[in-house]
């Protein structure tokens, strides 16, 4: 059994609880164990690094130090948490002075981070550690005929890993094909969802969301799959506001990829946290998993 240290991040506590639920259930079904870190804290999210870098690194390093003690790779389901942790490891390894400062602060908590931890996004666990072939072999209810738009967002491949194609990645599509659905090819799959821009510049943020939704819908997507709570909120919760602002008529469900994988694995709606959507699920999807 594959085992990982798991850093859920703040969003998965409440707002994205369905992501947390479905992540735990699908990995369990696929023979992967996610051990939630003890006493973890916020990763600093999108803004903290612009306010106080040193403190922001320390926040991340604290989680990493806890993870390091387990000797396991640490997995984050949220793209922002993943990116922050990934860059913190990279920067602390390169910058001895920064590492010394951070570790001085961590001493208060009897912690020390030496840089020996591998950070992964949850989707990498599905794409690489489990892999599309293995995933396919476990599928009981293939999502045949369902067109899923893989929405990578901007952060998953931003820390470029060795030889990774950061401009046209295909791993999300491979997961979608593995669960029997049809991946939608649309040009904006890597574009930013706006992040927290909605707070400071509403119109600009809504325009970004509108363009993304339009691109997916133009390419006949039944549902958009995401791998990040921030992206999910922007694309789903603000759909109504986009419609009001631009006179559009979008009604496209935005689901976590783990929920879609879970449906194909035959898990119940309840176990996947389905039923709390702002945009109703497509009837073709609703039919799956309803015993």
């Amino acid at each position: 059994m594959k085992e990982f240290a798991y850093f859920p991040g703040c969003s998965l506590e409440k707002m994205a609880s369905s992501y947390h639920l479905s992540a735990m259930e699908t990995t369990k079904k696929l023979g992967v164990k996610l051990n939630e870190l003890d006493d973890w804290n916020c990763c600093g999210a999108t803004t903290y690094f612009y306010i106080d870098e040193l403190l922001a690194y320390t926040l991340c390093a604290r989680n990493l130090a806890i993870a390091e003690k387990t000797g396991l790779d640490v997995v984050a389901p949220c793209s922002a948490c993943y990116k922050n942790m990934f860059f913190t490891v990279a920067h602390l390894k390169k910058d001895e002075d920064l590492a010394e400062h951070v570790n001085f602060a961590l001493e208060e908590d009897n912690l020390h981070f030496s840089g020996n931890v591998n950070v992964k996004h949850l989707i990498e666990v599905f794409a690489q550690d489990i892999g599309p072939d293995e995933l396919k072999s476990k599928i009981t209810k293939p999502l045949e005929g369902i067109r899923i738009a893989p929405y990578y967002g901007c952060q998953i491949v931003r820390p470029q890993k060795e030889k990774e194609d950061v401009e046209q990645p295909q791993f999300f599509e491979e997961i979608i094909s593995a669960i029997g659905a049809t991946p939608v090819n649309y040009p904006l799959k890597m574009r930013c969802c706006g992040g927290s821009l909605i707070i400071s510049s509403r119109t600009a943020a809504l325009t970004m969301v509108r363009n993304l939704l339009q691109s997916a819908v133009d390419n006949q997507a039944t549902v958009i799959a995401t791998a990040c709570p921030m992206c999910q909120v922007n694309l789903e919760v603000y759909q109504q506001q986009v419609n009001l602002e631009f006179g559009t008529n979008f009604s496209v469900p935005v689901m976590y990829f783990t929920q879609l994988v879970g449906l194909a694995l035959g898990l119940s709606h309840k176990k996947l946290g389905i039923g709390k959507e702002f945009v109703a699920m497509a009837p073709s999807l609703l039919a799956i998993g309803q015993e």
Binding site: Q168, P187, S215
Partner: protein, 673 residues
């Protein structure tokens, strides 16, 4: 090998090299010091002079040899790479064996790398001490003269190889021209127009191809590859594999009935860049030289299924011969010219430009074929659907070039090529044309004028590297278009340009097998796998391996005029060697002491030039002097110390070290005092 009994008379000459050396090293002090302090080492005269390499400087040495009876000479000046030969010749003229001369480098290895004048002066003295110590132990050597075989091998039948072959053949010498493809012509045969004159590429190339094909002094071996090269300058033995054509050359008239009748269509990924089809029996293009076809066994129905044979049935002369065997030819040549050309950068690697994913993104070579009236669209510029004429076209420069993710170098031809494309698009379709460039590079005769012509023709020039080409259309009227996202760095604005067609001006890269080829011919490659020339400025077509020359784009990105110039230049170098009749081989070679050699063959395996033979009858190793480059690798591997490298004996090297240390020791004693 003892030091001669009678007292050696050594002359030392310290060069100022203008201010190159004298600006840092106190040369007159070095000279006086040498005369006084190295007297006991046999130095009878020490002089300094402004330019030792000048004829007056050389005469100084010759005069001293004659008047003072010098037996050995040391010159402290620049690198031996530059002037060792000059001074060896001077010694030789005055009757001293050239190997009794030693050159020590107080410029590159002292003056140019030392800022402290006192330190530099000291270093010059110890270097001279070392050279004086060594020269006393040097032995007179005689260079070997080998005759030059006047036949020449030219590898690659592109424009550079054709030019080189014609020059040599016209002078009356014989050329073997080896080409991998079924026809000579190379990339130039694929192009439509040539910049900046816009004359038709085929029209200026085919007469040369025809001349090469019919020249009595050229043996053309197409559909062939060099397998093995043995020997050395003047005496190479080359093994060539002539692949089976399945067509009997002596019977074929090139009538074309076979490919007319052949039912099998194959996408032509080589000549037509995937834009058009050919048959399974084919010549790549109508003006192919030679004009007899080849059968592509991978696609021929007969080879796949055992049936068909339509070509054989219809051939009026019975020239089709299925199951022909490859021929292995061995030829003797004296010199080799490599003109193996380039590969086009694979634009698929830059995924954000969408080539291979977005239909209307074309590569430069695809565009050349499309614009060529003999090409797959008969010269019409149309979108991938084969009929829609584009209204807006974007041309992207530096695809794979000047980009640290792919190739850092500039591919040299793409700016001009892109300008040519813009002109052709405008002329043929009247479309709006955008050029997206980083810097416009048009540095050759009448190139800049061509750029100005394009500016006046109304092409839009946007200075900026394209970020992305996508199908992310959004606004009304954009449906089906490509969106080019770019920052205009002159205005600082982000631009989003909808176009119907994008052309990627892909860079040039070295042949995928350049490394193997280099190894085969004993030459080396740069970090980007271009063949390395002997000197980037002063010897651009020779290589470090005597008798092997390079020409055209295999040495680095180059346009047609430069490739032709190099082809002719390489031919001239070869003809000059042939004219000499025989050539002197370096005398500093390795020699095996047969008494102590145990025949372990370690040296045979270690020699990078295959110069060492194992003599079965004697059970000893033997160095072929003409092949030996004097690198000394074998000396290091020989356990019983049976190999000596002439001119680099242990004795000489130890004497050199002692010479240097003696001087340094005297400095120390002075400091203590």
């Amino acid at each position: 090998m003892d030091k001669k009994d009678e007292k050696e008379k050594i002359g030392v000459y310290v060069c100022h090299c203008g201010t190159n050396i004298a600006g840092v090293v106190d040369v007159s002090e070095v000279s006086t010091w040498t005369a006084e302090n190295l007297k006991d080492q046999g130095v009878v005269i020490s002089r300094d002079y402004k330019f030792m390499c000048s004829s007056l400087g050389q005469e100084l040495i010759e005069k001293d040899i004659k008047e003072l009876g010098l037996t050995r000479v040391v010159v402290a000046a620049c690198s031996p790479h530059l002037h060792e030969k000059t001074f060896r010749n001077a010694c030789s003229r005055a009757g001293v064996n050239p190997y009794l001369f030693e050159m020590t480098n107080i410029r590159e290895q002292d003056a140019w790398v030392t800022t402290d004048k006192a330190e530099a002066t000291k270093k010059a003295k110890s270097l001279i001490g070392a050279a004086v110590g060594r020269v006393a132990y040097q032995q007179p050597l005689e260079s070997l003269l080998v005759p030059i075989d006047s036949n020449v091998l030219v590898v690659g039948g592109g424009i550079a190889g054709i030019q080189a072959s014609l020059e040599i053949a016209n002078s009356g010498q014989h050329v073997y021209l080896v080409e991998r493809e079924p026809s000579i012509g190379g990339h130039m045969a694929q192009f439509d127009k040539t910049f900046p004159t816009l004359d038709c590429s085929a029209c200026i190339l085919t007469p040369k191809m025809f001349d090469a094909g019919n020249h009595k002094n050229i043996t053309m071996l197409t559909w062939s590859e060099v397998e093995k090269v043995e020997g050395y300058i003047g005496n190479f033995t080359v093994t060539i594999r002539k692949r089976a054509r399945d067509v009997e050359e002596s019977l074929c008239t090139g009538c074309g009935i076979c490919w007319e009748k052949c039912p099998k269509k194959v996408v032509d990924n080589v000549f037509e860049a995937g834009m058009g089809n050919r048959k399974a029996v084919y010549t790549p293009f109508p003006q192919a030289v030679p004009n007899y076809p080849v059968i592509d066994r991978e696609n021929c129905t007969y080879y796949l299924k055992g049936t068909c044979k339509a070509c054989e049935k219809f051939c009026p002369t019975g020239a089709i011969k299925f199951n022909q065997e490859d021929e292995i030819l061995t030829v003797k040549v004296g010199n080799i010219i490599l003109a193996t050309g380039f590969d086009l950068f694979d634009s698929r690697k830059i995924t954000q430009y969408g080539y291979g994913r977005l239909a209307n993104v074309f590569t430069s070579l695809e565009f050349e074929r499309m614009s060529n009236s003999a090409g797959p669209t008969a010269g019409r510029i149309v979108q991938r659907d084969g009929k829609t004429v584009p209204k807006v076209v974007g041309i992207v420069h530096c695809v794979g070039s000047r980009d640290k993710n792919y190739h850092e170098y500039c591919s040299a031809v793409c700016c001009m090529q892109s300008l040519k494309f813009a002109h052709l698009v405008k002329e043929k379709t009247g479309a709006e044309v955008y050029e997206f460039y980083i810097d416009m590079r048009t540095p050759a005769k009448t190139y800049e004028e061509f750029y100005h012509r394009l500016l006046e023709e109304g092409t839009h020039f946007v200075r900026g590297k394209v970020a992305e080409i996508s199908d992310a259309t959004r606004l009304p009227g954009e449906e089906g278009k490509l969106i080019i996202q770019v920052e205009d760095t002159l205005t600082g604005n982000q631009l989003r340009v909808p176009v119907d067609m994008a052309i990627l001006s892909a860079g040039l890269e070295s042949r995928h097998d350049a490394k193997e080829v280099a190894q085969k011919f004993g030459i080396s490659c740069s970090a980007d796998d271009w063949f390395i020339e002997r000197h980037p400025k002063l010897d651009p077509v020779a290589t470090m391996t005597d008798g092997v020359f390079v020409a055209g784009a295999c040495q680095g990105p180059k346009d047609i005029p430069n490739s032709v110039a190099q082809g002719a230049a390489a031919a001239a170098r070869v003809l000059s060697i042939i004219g000499q009749g025989e050539i002197e081989i370096e005398a500093a070679t390795a020699i095996v002491d047969e008494v102590t050699c145990v025949g372990c063959k370690q040296c045979v395996a270690s020699c990078p030039y295959q110069a060492i033979q194992y003599l079965e009858d004697k059970g000893k190793a033997y160095v072929q002097e003409a092949l030996c480059k004097g690198c000394g690798t074998c000396v290091g591997t020989c356990l019983p110390k049976s190999i000596t490298l002439k001119h680099f004996t242990d004795e000489q090297i130890v004497a050199e070290m002692i010479g240097a240390m003696r001087v340094m020791k005297s400095f120390e004693l002075m400091e203590v005092a």
